[in-house]
Symmetry: C2
Subunit: 203 residues, 2 copies
DNA sequence: CGAGTGATTGACTTAGATCAATGACCGTGG
DNA sequence: CCACGGTCATTGATCTAAGTCAATCACTCG
């Protein structure tokens, strides 16, 4: 996902940062596409407004995420983007990106590979959401995120962040963690969860 | 998503169909990648097995879907694939696809655009799953799937299929539909849902 | 004509959302 | 240097929407 991984430095040099206040629009449906975006800080929400005037959220990107990748291949944006908090976004002009692709086949390939991985990851997260039980959902996550030792999961953020990623309330997650720890299935320490013997079936 | 849309006929001609019995493996983690797959019929499940021997489902693809796109850029599969029902899959050999990409820049671009759209769609579905209420979840879906007239949603399958897509039990969905119809927010007819005046706020 | 599946609705149960409160930390501005 | 406001971590009590179990009816397909 990090732009660094696939976009040549020459193209990255053309990026422009833009500061947005909460509620400030970045682009609207139908606007000519200017490029793809990366959220540097804050959050940006992509929405679509239906005929009755109601707004429906397509998704909300947080720091580090990119969005509007599809706009590279489309002349106009297909939705609105609005900062939901004060935010800084980085625009990679379409021309710079497409030029890089034309000149450097490696770049397209890397970008495409990145997207393919994203698709994979998103499908996995969607599958996770099909699991109703908080405990099993958490186990699914843990099973797929153990480190090289096969038993340590390093949290990428706060427990609240994890709750959001899992689609649970933070309270539910705290309780589930507490229950698993009480049952001896996991052990917790600062920013880490260590799996232990016999955590039983997955799925 | 349909392969037809981005892969030139020449490459498509190299595809090979393979029949699988329920439970039959298609490939295993670490196998050399042979190409990307399309599910012709049945379902195929991608799983990963953790050190404790438990299997975790990454995702399950149904008829019409493609999977293992990322394998085009990787020498070995990163998970197992097993038919969860009797199934027919179509393999597009890696070499055929990559050749097509090399010879026809349009093809890479089309593929990349397809992936970008998939990412968009998946993010939207994930956002949808963040909505807890069955009613609002349904509304979110309806709002994003109205036809050109702005009020008709054509179901792509049975109501049960829709329930699965929404991540609800079919019973819950039936009840929600019934409630919305009773409230006059929608009207149903064979394979269609028509929105009516004043369905209130989204999100 | 059964068997299998979708559509639908009822009754009941429960897991997780909600509301609330507390303590630990952290940065910061006076 | 410390008090204060804000956020995270955690746990309790309560409530309800959605899951689960179950039954019925309408179809469709050999």
């Amino acid at each position: 996902m990090p732009v660094k991984d696939w976009l040549p430095a020459a193209a990255r040099a053309k990026a422009v940062d833009r500061k947005l206040k909460a509620g400030e629009p970045l682009f609207h449906l139908g606007d000519k596409t200017s490029g793809l975006y990366e959220v540097v800080s804050g959050r940006v929400r992509m929405t679509r407004v239906d005929r009755t005037g109601h707004e429906t959220v397509l998704y909300e990107s947080g720091a580090g995420e990119t969005f509007a990748e599809a706009s590279l291949f489309s002349p106009a944006y297909h939705c609105d983007a609005i900062a939901s908090t004060d935010a800084v976004v980085r625009v990679y002009p379409k021309s710079a990106v497409l030029d890089a692709f034309a000149k450097d086949p490696k770049a397209v390939q890397a970008f495409t590979a990145t997207l393919a991985h994203q698709v994979m990851g998103l499908r996995t997260r969607l599958e996770q959401r099909n699991i109703r039980s908080a405990r099993e959902r958490l186990r699914h996550y843990l099973a797929l995120n153990v480190g090289a030792d096969g038993r340590t999961v390093t949290l990428r953020g706060t427990v609240k962040d994890l709750a959001a990623e899992l689609g649970l309330t933070h309270e539910a997650l705290y309780r589930t963690l507490a229950a698993l720890e009480r049952a001896g299935a996991i052990r917790r320490s600062k920013g880490k969860i260590v799996l232990r013997r016999g955590q039983g079936r997955s799925i």
